[in-house]
Amino acid sequence: MNEAEVLRAEGLTRVLGEVTAVAGVSLTIAAGEWVSLVGPSGCGKTTLLQMLGLLDRPTAGQLRLAGVDPWKGTVSARTLLRRERIGFVFQGNNLIEYLTARENVALPAWRLLGSRGAALAAADGLLDRLGLSARADTRAALLSMGEGQRVASARALVNRPQVVLADEPTGNLDKASGEIVMAALGEVCVTGSALLVVTHDVGVAARANRTLTMSDGRILDR
């Protein structure tokens, strides 16, 4: 594995029941690289993202995150990898709704750093950058879709992960909110982290260093 590579997948396959959701996908993502993943609905993008994020075990194939095969380690080791090295932005309802925006963002940092104060300070900084300071103490359930997605982006970034996996981060947002979210996510590449964005938005895909197209569980081109 190249030192610059953050993530390498070889022949990743995921069979769900009788359906092969992902069929032998191989890809690498380098540090500081922004990769967009596009494709029709149901082609396996989310399943691939979940395997790359160590949430779903591949039926076949190999994965290396920062040089480590996470599926050879324990559940705790994978949890630690997710906590330390991966940031997630999921589709849709993405926040713990009974916590405030600030608490949602601080949560991964609180767990990682072991300090509530430091985590809240980090959360405040990120919320400020994303223009959400005024909504920091609002319960997640009361945030608009756009605000929620921005808060989710902040949460993905709070632990300065090596790779950020974003599934349709602008899917339900207006253009302005989408711009703010993508600008914040895009910044991680400047600091050497990798960004993999699943998107239907041509504008978002165009900003990537590389765009991968997926169809029927396979990556068609690079």
């Binding site: 906590r83 997630f88 999921f90 713990i96 072991g114 509530r116």
Partner: protein, 399 residues
């Protein structure tokens, strides 16, 4: 993980548990209410059952025939009773010993007689096998006084100071009609339900009756008081070893009625506890389970951001702990109020048998611990289910 980190993580998990609970106030109220109701019910229930047992032991053992009863093993009466009694009294752990002679008798007033058991008592240590409720005790060697059970006195229409006729059947060998006839003054009235029954027993001085019998040492049984009903079996075994001519029986062996009543009370307590456990455990388990199902996506999100399965288990288990502790904190004062009420208004009162709830630490500790245990056990399965949620599956499906 450093201790500081561990503390911080514990704080995080407690925070998530509390906020999760607080997010659904109605569920929280019902959960806490179920636990509080369980404790509030079980505290006075325990107090009443303890009070019932205490009263039974008081009447049957402490103010009855004692912790251990010594009978002659082979002879009709205890041989060398005076010396034996002295030796028994010297045994460590024994507070008092009474010598008892029991004879069939009849008591009469204004021509109406009723058959009774005449309990001739010698209490050198001042401990009586009955509870005096009116008048005074018989002075040692009293030849003219008698104590009458209050229920019996009511039936005969006599009170303290009245004269009664007493016929005692001595039943000595070769005498078909060996009856002592006495006119005695009622010195006092006593109460008793177990062992000494106030409805058909009278008490006279043993030395007086034994003298009439012609055998100053005549003693049918020795009553041994150690004030340790639970240790009665061990004490009986010790005494049986030390006095081969005596049959030593603990109160549990000797008094079937009392033993059965205590066992019955324990069974009622156990079934009541079981019912409370079910009544608390089922709704708590159901509500926590529903919460864990409703929160699947939140749990999946927690897992995705690096909160481990064991930690998710702890979050949900802590919710059960919070509910249990809060319910206990609310239920105990309510239970205390009910105990105070039942102490002022006993639920059972007959003659001198009054069921007064016991207000002690164990009245609260045992119900609180059992209800807490039920709550925690109820929280295990929902917590386990939450910890085993497959985040990929939940996030893929969106719910």
């Amino acid at each position: 993980m450093t201790p500081t980190n561990r503390r911080a993580t514990s704080g995080l998990l407690a925070f998530l548990a509390w906020r999760g609970l607080r997010s659904s106030p109605l569920t929280l109220v019902v959960l806490v209410g179920a636990v509080a109701a369980g404790v509030a019910f079980q505290v006075p229930n325990t107090a009443n059952i303890l009070g019932y047992e205490a009263e039974m032991l008081e009447q049957g053992v402490k103010c009855g025939f004692g912790d251990v009863r010594l009978y002659p093993r082979r002879s009709r009466r205890i041989e060398a009773a005076k010396a034996t009694m002295t030796r028994v009294r010297a045994t460590p752990g024994i507070h008092a010993v009474d010598a008892i002679l029991i004879l069939p008798a009849a008591i009469g007033h204004e021509g109406h007689f009723q058959s009774v058991a005449a309990l001739a008592v010698d209490s050198p240590d001042g401990r009586q096998p009955f509870r005096l409720v009116e008048g005074r005790l018989l002075p040692p060697g009293d030849r003219e006084g008698i104590l009458v059970g209050r229920a019996l006195a009511r039936r005969l229409g006599v009170g303290v100071g009245d004269k009664v006729e007493l016929r005692v059947v001595f039943g000595r060998n070769d005498l078909d009609e060996d009856v002592g006839r006495y006119r005695l003054t009622v010195r006092g009235l006593f109460a008793g339900t177990f062992t000494v029954c106030a409805t058909d027993t009278i008490v006279v001085d043993r030395r007086f009756v034994a003298g009439e019998l012609g055998d100053p040492e005549a003693t049918d049984m020795l009553l041994v008081y150690s004030d340790d009903p639970e240790g009665a079996g061990a004490l009986a075994a010790r005494l049986a070893g030390a006095f081969s001519s005596l049959d030593a029986r603990s109160w549990t062996e000797d008094s079937a009625l009392l033993r059965s009543a205590i066992h019955g009370s324990a069974a009622v307590a156990a079934s009541s506890t079981a019912m409370v456990l079910v009544a608390v455990g089922l709704p708590v388990a159901a509500l926590l389970y529903i919460q864990s199902i409703n929160r699947r996506r939140q749990v999946a999100l927690m897992a995705a951001i690096g909160i481990g399965g064991a930690e998710i288990f702890i979050v949900f288990f802590l919710q059960a702990l919070f509910v249990g502790l809060t319910g206990i904190a609310l239920g105990c004062p309510i239970g205390y109020g009910l105990v105070r009420y039942f102490r002022a208004h006993p639920i059972f009162e007959m003659e001198q048998f009054v069921l007064r709830p016991v207000l002690a630490a164990r009245t609260f500790v045992w119900p609180a611990l059992t209800v807490l245990a039920a709550t925690l056990i109820s929280g295990v399965y929902p917590a386990w289910r939450a910890a085993r949620i497959d985040p990929a599956e939940i996030l893929r499906r969106g719910t």
